[in-house]
Symmetry: C2
Subunit: 226 residues, 2 copies
């Protein structure tokens, strides 16, 4: 099995048929890298690009992968053109996922170190009855809610907060319904929550950071080498 | 002016009388470094200890500094013994702050890179009428609120969230009142908020990270060298 991503052809690992059956993953790489200065998902990281790490994990846990790329790079089989917003990009990816998919994961191309285990964990949570499942890690900072004037209106108890990551897994019908009206959300889980779906949190990892700033890429290169 | 911290005697910078007048800062260094493995505030960072960086900033912005130390290290003038919790340590420091202090700042010893400007900013906000002021930076992760079963109950809008840091500045009477009943809070601002005080957020900085894990110290050493 081979997957064409941009101009690189990646050999994929054999899929364990039982766990991956009916699972499709959308890897979202449509961003322009506004904060980074350029599309960070195509930066080199220990001999391959950041996106190749993300797709590699996804391909081991999925029957198929759809990579959402900047429109000028999309076109090959297994790709879809990015939209104006992240949610629009996910919808573009959803349109390319076969109708018989049972579970759909959405993953950020800029997270090279998710690991296959976290894919399996979110998929397992959905197969166990949740509408969606997301990886989360404890929040170490004190978080406050502020109003428009910069005045603190609440300090949520830190123990009740999690910082969530991707991959996020969903029942396919639930995710498609949540995106049907073109909603925008902070993440896909928020759209499913707004539609009344039950989303659960599974253990994420500190290592599963998103590459957002050049310092994150420097960290990732150290991490990949260690 | 000299300040005795543990076994090191630090020469302090001259205090700009206008801005620092009536300002006292409590530097909390009573922690055991449970997550770090040992008290991280005494680790070396570019030729001095982490705590010396924090005290150095505080001393430039304050008329006086009280350093809350593990009880076995406290005793010298300008120090106070740490308590069983962070809030108890702050109360120990408060007891050593002169009654005529007008503004009291509380700062984590494990934040070496706060910088004097952020002290001035939080103090200025309190002098302008707020009960308290804290530095905050935008939250980059999606944060979710979960219940005891790990089910997501809310996804607060990210634009309304800030991750807060120290130094936190307060009207002295307000901070003393908030601590009077021995309350515990995530941070001092939360106690003031619970007592009905108005706390505002000023711009913090990405650099003002707390040293929590060994990786944070490695980062700080790179940062100090650059």
């Amino acid at each position: 099995m081979w997957l064409i991503v941009g101009v690189t052809v990646l050999p994929l690992q054999p899929v364990p048929a039982d766990e991956a059956e009916g699972v499709w993953t959308i890897v979202v790489a449509g961003g322009s890298g506004r904060r980074f200065g350029r599309p960070k998902q195509f930066e080199q990281l220990a001999g391959r690009r950041v996106i190749d790490w993300a797709v590699g994990d996804a391909s081991q846990a999925s029957e198929g992968v759809i990579v959402v790329l900047p429109p000028e790079l999309a076109g090959a089989e297994g790709t879809a053109p990015g939209g104006a917003t992240r949610s629009a990009s996910v919808r573009s990816g959803l349109a390319a996922v076969p109708q018989d998919a049972a579970v759909i994961c959405v993953h950020d191309a800029a997270r090279p170190f998710a690991g296959v285990e976290v894919f399996r964990a979110v998929v397992a949570a959905v197969r166990s009855g949740a509408d969606g499942a997301v990886p989360g890690i404890p929040v170490t900072d004190t978080i406050k809610v502020v109003d428009g004037s910069g005045t603190v209106t609440a300090t949520p108890e830190r123990a009740s907060l999690v910082a969530v990551q991707t991959p996020q897994a969903f029942r396919a019908d639930v995710l498609r319904a949540a995106h049907a009206d073109g909603s925008e959300g902070t993440d896909d889980a928020a759209l499913v929550e707004q539609a009344g779906g039950r989303v659960v949190v599974v253990a994420g990892s500190e290592r599963n950071r998103k590459i957002t700033l050049p310092a994150d890429l420097a960290w990732a290169r150290q991490e990949a080498a260690s």
